[in-house]
């Protein structure tokens, strides 16, 4: 397995703005095969992640308007490379706050140093954020000012002991004056609702994102009131699997900082409450250049909480020229180029249901669109985990101080689609 040979970062307009080689240099021209495939795919998201060229294989990901194109020479599990590339993008995000072309260009030296540490001869070496941050300090405004004056560097001069330990995810010598541990239980509802309003498919995808700022080597255990709800769980490597298997308790020495503790799935369909309903009437008249559009959103099964942050996006058929609508609440936009209708509803109050209604103008002479577009709904419900998951308690061992602990629940729409 020779793994990753080279990496090219390409922006949307097709400029290769960064290249890195872990073995001998591969010419940029190899990217031409990629551009070819990109052209053929029309849409960025349809570029095949794996492209075979006469001498190389190109495995790419698309993240935040950047293509990460890696050059491979021999057999390697494609997911291995894809997962790694996403880890690289995550690291950039972590370091620079965003994974954008400007951020990468502005920090090109750090990017290079990171890539150097993350792969050795094309094989992943240090990918844990905690280790990397010991090796290479993330840029801050203050530090870059200080560095430029004193000539000191971003490269950590302490040796990354984490790399040597068997808890590679945690750096040593963590110290905080305020010791805090926050857990965000975030649940997303993935659903497909059919025309008649019945649920075709629904499941809950949950994650627990943690922000742990605890000194020393805390050993935490987090228990749930109803752990059996969690159908399928994937863990951060810090979690002791056996303990979960036997007791359903999450026991771990956490990494320092922000990280995703677990992600889980609750999938038995009956359990999934659908917090909103949509009444819709979208029709196009035969032999006429107009159609009707009338959509109302209302709350349902929302456990007494307010549904907020409601946004509806609709990809209208190509034949639609313009839309002339009135919203009783919020505002809407229609982009005649992409044909995307977006309605920012905001909060739903049950007394007065938000409604969007009006006329659709079609291209004259074009045949009536056959398909009614699907409605993609986003919403948010604070302080509620829709699956009913509840954290029971968090205990800390191994350290003496009393940490401040907090748990926040939030439910969101994931891939929530209403077919019309």
């Amino acid at each position: 397995m020779k793994m990753i040979h080279s990496l090219f970062l390409i922006n949307c307009s097709g400029d290769i703005f960064l290249e890195k080689h872990w073995k001998s240099v591969v010419s940029q021209s190899v990217c031409d095969y990629f551009f070819e495939a990109q052209e053929k795919a029309i849409d960025v998201e349809n570029v095949p992640p794996v492209i075979s060229t006469p001498h190389h294989y190109l495995i790419s990901i698309y993240r935040d308007k950047i293509f990460f194109v890696s050059v491979i020479q021999t057999e390697v599990p494609p997911l291995f490379v894809i997962e790694f590339l996403h880890r690289v993008a995550d690291t950039f995000q972590d370091y620079f706050g965003e994974c954008s072309e400007t951020a990468i260009k502005d920090n090109v030296v750090i990017v290079y140093e990171l890539l150097e540490e993350m792969l050795d001869n094309g094989f992943p070496l240090a990918t844990e954020s905690n280790i990397l941050k010991e090796l290479i300090k993330p840029p801050t405004i203050l530090r870059s000012v200080v560095n430029s004056i004193t000539g000191s560097s971003n490269v950590g001069d302490t040796l990354p002991t984490g790399q040597l330990s068997n808890i590679p995810w945690r750096r040593a010598g963590v110290k905080y004056t305020n010791n805090e541990a926050y857990f965000d239980v975030i649940e997303e509802i993935d659903a497909i609702i059919d025309k008649s309003g019945s649920t075709v498919f629904a499941e809950i995808q949950g994650v627990i994102d943690s922000c742990i700022k605890l000194s020393g080597m805390p050993d935490l255990s987090l228990s749930f009131m109803n752990p059996r709800l969690l159908d399928d769980v994937s863990f951060h490597p810090c979690i002791r699997f056996k303990r979960w298997e036997s007791e359903r308790v999450l026991s771990f020495i956490p990494p320092d900082g922000n990280f995703r503790l677990i992600s889980y799935r609750v999938s038995s369909q009956n359990l999934v409450a659908i917090p909103v309903y949509v009444k819709h009437l979208i029709s196009f008249k035969e032999n006429s250049s107009s159609g009707r559009f009338d959509v109302t959103i209302g709350p349902k099964q929302n456990m007494g909480k307010t549904v907020e942050g409601v946004v509806m996006t609709v990809h209208m058929p190509k034949a639609v020229l313009n839309m002339n609508l009135t919203a009783t609440q919020g505002s809407y936009t229609f982009d005649p180029v992409t044909k995307v209708l977006a309605w920012d509803v905001g909060k739903i109050t049950p007394q007065k249901l938000p409604n969007l209604k009006g006329i659709v103008n079609l291209q004259s002479g074009a045949p009536k669109p056959e398909e009614n577009p699907s409605l993609n709904i986003q919403f948010k419900i604070q302080q509620l985990a829709i699956s009913g998951l509840k954290v029971n308690r968090l205990d800390m061992y191994g350290e003496k101080y009393k940490p401040f602990k907090g748990v926040k629940y939030i439910t969101k729409a994931g891939k929530f689609q209403v077919r019309t």
Partner: protein
């Protein structure tokens, strides 16, 4: 900000004005517009002696490299800075060097000596990074240097350096494949490494250099399986893939019987030509049945140890396990992977793409597996087209009689999608469902016919093509549809659809006798404007009509053939010529003419619509080759199962193997691995406690191996002390590793606060006794040695070594000799094992300890005990303790230090274990300011240093007490012992028995606690909190007194009064967390006895059992 000057450089520098470095360098103001001058400027900066300038220059150069600009002319200027002090400059120089060394080989050689120096650095991270850069420089001339460096690093004591060595192997191999044989040797050696850090990297090297040498894996197979869960995620993927291949060569197929049955059933479905082979196979199956299949325990081990990784957050790991299960697991068990794979569908679209490809292949073979997750493959309008099409593929594969109606309803929604490529794929999917499931064929056909009136031509065309295939199955009943389609020729323009219609009409012209000639007439008219495939079908139709209905179509056929004769396309011209000869009888035409009708209108088998993913599983799933459906470079075939299982005993790890190995390493370079082997030895029994007995053989293998390898550790102690910092840090790291392992296995509860404040009333008395004994000196010791001869000899050697410096070397010698000689039987080995890898448990040999104690020490000891007078806990039953050497007088340049566990509560902190330290100055000068410094501890561990000893006169001895909180683990505490001139690296490792303090309880309480622990154990894996072991009591241990004495000597426990005479109970609490440790010894008739230890701390329990059994056996 850091990088903006770098880009400024691109633009010619004008935009970079105001950047700090220009302040230092006024000459460079605005003149570096041209290339060479710009680089001159950089060279100047590199030559300066200011690090900040160098750094700035390097940053700009790296930015150039990042953009793919050529910076090779700067090589000489850059390479000079390879030894720069500034670590960031150095790193950037490395980046540059690795990038350009290949192009400038001669100059690159200048840097080599720096790295060679780095390879000898005492700091492991510097050694590692030197090797990393050295091996990344692709300059063939340094191959011998690299080889040497790799070999050396492979036996480095730091696992991190060894890992780097493993990484360097493929680099060297790609530079010079002639080194293969030598590299294989290194790989073999590194494969034997027991650290998780090295495992992934060395397997990667193995896969790269010698994947065919599967024999190298045998001995390491079980170890790799057991380490797997703790290896970093990338290594896991590599190891799992390799083990999949390994298992395919070494074990028998778990599905022998099922797969045969399944296959024959499938055959029956598709056709009956293979009746014969089926019979033969059935026979084979019954044969196989006669010999029942039993899974090799090693095969089971692999499946069991990989399963938890399905819950990894890393998609590549999940996929690796999934493919392992798919290729290796019994059919009934493969199902577990479905859930995990479905979970990955929520990930990034690239991950979805790869996972769906694999699911598509799997779902053909094992449809049942994904059926419960059918709805997870439903398609959203927002999915990218390539994902939609793959999901469709999976849905089609999953369709069966029961779910087809749901699936078809879903397909109906898809057909109305705006994404036309997707609609076309849906129509094909419907066609496939219709062919595979007879029940819905008519429904599907009707649906498709309705689509013929769709407004979108692509949809119609696709439908035509699919309908054509369906009609071929039962044409007679569908002449209506054929007629309907004939009408479409007027409108439909898509060539493939037109061709399909023409073929249909031609083929079934007898069913539509009136329409067919008319269609031909129309087509003849438009012939010249048709696409090639349509033309070919027109010729075809003409020929068929000529044969069936020559009266109506003779002229038309002639006309078409004439047109075709002068077509631009030679295929069409050829076809026309061929057909004319065949169908139109002339004098020249041969015998074939008679058979023309049979040739053209023969019954043709209906096409089988099958998935493009069928049989793709001959590629290892998850591989690049599978994804591309073509063999990628470097792909290792997944071998077929062997018919006969190869000898499973090759995986047995024999003791001599390991001994050889470790001794070799040791001799060469003091490689030290006591901690790993320790943890291995520990994990063995723990495994057995919570897993099936299959692992038994494995345990015995590993524990005995650990026994021998660790036996070397003690003799290395001496060397280690001299070795200084490297060894120390190495030690520490090893412990971290082990600690982690232990933590993972740690049971519930965690540390609960308890206060083992003790100090009994006997305390003073005891100290008194000690004094007396000490005064008695060697004689007293000998007296005791008689009662327990064996261990006394061990302790004697250590104590005498410290007594008389001159004797020391011989003692060491003696020990060395002792080890091989006692390796006679397995039992002895296990004893040795304990004796060596944790410092031996304290023995009731009171006077063997501090002998030449001065009065000062005793007084100090007394005062210490006086300070804490809380009588809550029992005082230790035995004041008699054993001493361990901390610093040998040779290593300590005349300073010798010993320590013992005094078993008294450490004043001031109840969570600390008190360690009494005895320092003797054997030099002829005064030693000043003796103190502890720089403790290197594992997380949670704490040290309370002893007060600094101002001075110690020559020949004098001082005794001090320090406290160490070991966190209930047997990890060593490392620290430096400093004098005014020297620093000595030392470490204290506690025997498990010293990590607890006795606790008083009644028999009832004892029973209650025991029951409580046992009950909690049930909820978890059985045996988590109870360890039971049978043993035989030797002659001298068959008295109450002897038993109690031995147990209390092995561990700091208190006896619990007990009603029955043949039962002995002891209780203690661990010092740090206060977890209860309950010991029950049941003495049955004769020599048989059973020892039970209950503790939440499983590791402690396990080790304690070992220690006590050993103590009793002596």
């Amino acid at each position: 900000m850091a990088a903006s000057p770098a880009y400024g450089e691109e633009k010619g520098g004008s935009s970079s004005l105001g950047e700090p470095e220009y302040g230092h360098d006024p000459a460079s103001g605005g003149i570096f517009a041209s290339d060479y001058k710009r680089h001159d400027d950089l060279k100047e900066m590199l030559d300066s002696n200011k690090d900040s300038l160098k750094l700035e220059a390097m940053k700009r150069i790296v930015a150039m490299i990042a953009r793919g600009k050529n910076a090779s002319d700067l090589f000489p200027a850059v390479v000079k800075n390879v030894a720069c002090k500034n670590i960031e400059v150095k790193k950037l120089v490395y980046v540059y060097l690795v990038r350009y060394a290949e192009e400038q080989q001669d100059l690159a050689l200048l840097s080599i000596s720096t790295f060679q120096r780095g390879l000898k650095d005492p700091n492991q991270l510097i050694r590692a990074s030197a090797l990393r850069v050295l091996s990344s420089i692709r300059v063939p001339i340094i191959v011998p240097i690299m080889m040497l460096a790799i070999k050396e690093a492979a036996s480095d004591m730091s696992p991190y350096v060894r890992k780097t060595a493993a990484h360097a192997i493929p680099k060297l191999y790609s530079l010079d494949s002639d080194q293969k044989d030598q590299l294989i040797e290194v790989i073999e050696k590194l494969l034997a490494d027991k650290t998780t850090l090295v495992a992934g990297s060395v397997v990667m090297a193995f896969e790269e250099v010698c994947p065919e040498r599967i024999d190298l894996i045998h001995k390491n197979y079980r170890k790799l399986c057991n380490l797997l869960i703790d290896v970093e995620e990338w290594g896991q993927v590599v190891i799992i893939n390799m083990l999949t291949r390994y298992a395919r060569t070494q074990f028998l197929s778990p599905n022998q019987n099922e797969s045969l049955l399944e296959e024959s059933a499938e055959k029956a479905f598709y056709g009956s030509e293979e009746e014969d082979t089926k019979d033969a196979k059935a026979e084979a199956a019954s044969l196989a049945k006669r010999k029942p299949y039993v899974m090799d325990p090693d095969h089971r081990l692999l499946l069991r140890n990989t399963k938890p990784l399905l819950q990894s957050r890393n998609a590549a790991v999940v996929m690796a396990v999934a493919q392992l299960y798919f290729h290796l697991a019994p059919k009934a068990e493969v199902g577990v992977i479905a859930k995990a794979l479905v979970r990955l569908l929520r990930s990034h679209s690239e991950v979805q793409y790869v996972v769906l490809q694999n699911v598509a292949t799997m779902s053909i073979k094992r449809r049942g597996m994904f059926e419960p997750y059918l709805k997870s493959f439903y398609i959203r309008s927002t999915d990218p087209t390539q994902i939609k099409i793959l999901k469709l593929e999976v849905l089609t594969n999953l369709a069966n009689e029961t779910n087809i109606s749901t699936i078809l309803r879903e397909f109906q929604t898809y057909i109305r999608s705006m994404d036309k490529d997707f609609v076309a794929a849906t129509i094909q999917a419907i066609g496939r469902c219709a062919t595979n499931i007879g029940k819905v064929r008519d429904t599907c056909l009707n649906g498709l016919v309705q689509l013929l009136s769709n407004r979108d031509e692509l949809v119609v065309a696709e439908s035509v093509v699919v309908i054509k295939k369906l009609l071929q199955m039962q044409p007679a009943q569908h002449s209506e549809i054929i007629k309907h389609m004939a009408k479409l020729t007027d409108n439909i323009q898509v060539p493939m659809a037109r061709a399909s219609i023409l073929w249909l009409i031609g083929e079934y012209c007898e069913h539509v006798p009136k329409i067919a000639p008319d269609v031909l007439r129309k087509m003849a008219k438009s012939f010249t404007n048709e696409e090639d495939i349509v033309k070919l079908q027109v010729i075809n139709l003409a020929a068929k009509l000529y044969l069936t209905n020559s009266k109506q179509s003779k002229l038309l056929t002639q006309y078409v053939l004439n047109l075709a004769k002068y077509d631009q396309n030679y295929d069409i011209r050829d076809r026309a010529r061929f057909i004319r000869q065949l169908i139109v009888p002339t004098e020249k035409s041969g015998a074939l003419n008679k058979y023309a009708k049979k040739l053209f209108l023969a019954q043709k088998p209906a096409p089988i619509l099958e998935s493009s993913f069928k049989d793709r599983d001959h590629f290892q799933l998850g591989s690049l080759s599978h994804l591309l459906n073509a063999k990628a470079v470097g792909y290792q075939e997944l071998p077929d199962w062997p018919d006969e299982a190869p000898d499973p005993s090759v995986r047995n790890v024999e003791v001599p193997e390991w001994t050889k190995c470790t001794s070799r390493e040791k001799r060469k370079d003091k490689v030290e691995k006591p901690f790993y082997s320790d943890s291995e030895g520990e994990s063995g029994p723990t495994e057995s406690a919570d897993s099936e007995p299959e692992s038994d053989s494995e345990e015995s293998g590993s524990s005995s191996s650990s026994g021998t390898s660790s036996s070397s550790s003690e003799e290395e102690d001496e060397e280690e002390e001299e070795g200084g910092s490297e060894e120390q840090s190495e030690d520490k790291e090893g412990e971290e590793e082990e600690e982690e392992k232990r933590k993972k296995k740690k049971e519930k509860g965690g540390p609960r606060k308890a206060s083992p404040r003790s100090v009994g009333s006997e305390e003073e008395e005891e100290a008194e006794g000690k004094k007396v004994k000490k005064a008695a000196g060697p004689q007293g010791k000998k007296g005791h040695a008689e009662s327990s001869s064996e261990e006394a000899s061990a302790s004697e050697s250590s104590s005498s070594g410290s007594d008389s410096g001159t004797e020391a070397p011989t003692v060491v010698e003696a020990k060395r000799r002792k080890i091989p000689s006692s390796k006679a039987g397995p039992k002895e080995i296990s004893l040795l094992d304990l004796d060596d890898f944790t410092p031996p448990p304290p023995q009731p040999v009171p006077s063997s300890s501090i002998i030449s104690t001065s009065l000062v020490t005793d007084l100090e000891g007394l005062t210490l005990t006086d300070t804490s007078l809380a009588p809550a806990l029992l005082s230790p039953a035995f004041g008699a303790v054993r001493t361990y050497e901390l610093l040998h007088r040779m290593a300590g340049e005349g300073l010798s230090v010993e320590y013992c566990f005094s078993r008294r509560p450490f004043p001031g902190d109840p969570h600390m274990v008190a360690v009494q330290i005895q320092i003797s100055n054997n030099t002829d000068a005064e030693v000043k300011s003796l103190r502890v410094s720089e403790p290197k501890l594992l997380a949670g561990m704490r040290i309370q240093e002893f007060p600094e000893i101002e001075s110690l006169a020559p020949g004098d001895t001082a005794s001090v007490v320090m406290g160490i909180d070991f966190c209930d683990s047997t990890q060593a505490a490392n620290f430096q012992l400093c004098t005014h001139t020297r620093h000595f690296y030392v470490s204290i490792q506690p025997p498990v028995g010293e990590l607890m303090a006795p606790v008083f309880m009644s028999e009832n309480e004892f029973r209650k606690e025991q029951e409580h622990l046992a009950r909690r154990g049930e909820g978890k894996l059985t045996g988590m909190s109870e360890i039971t072991e049978k043993l035989t009591l030797p002659e001298k241990c068959r008295s109450d007194h002897a038993i109690v004495q031995q147990v209390t000597s092995a561990a700091n426990v208190g006896r619990v009064p007990c009603g029955a005479d043949n039962e002995y109970r002891f209780a203690a609490k661990t010092v740090t967390s206060g977890s209860l440790v309950l010991i029950t010894l049941e003495w049955r008739e004769g020599a048989a006895a059973q020892l039970t230890v209950n503790s939440e701390k499983m590791v402690i329990g396990t080790m304690l059992v070992k220690d006590i059994i050993q103590a009793l056996a002596q």
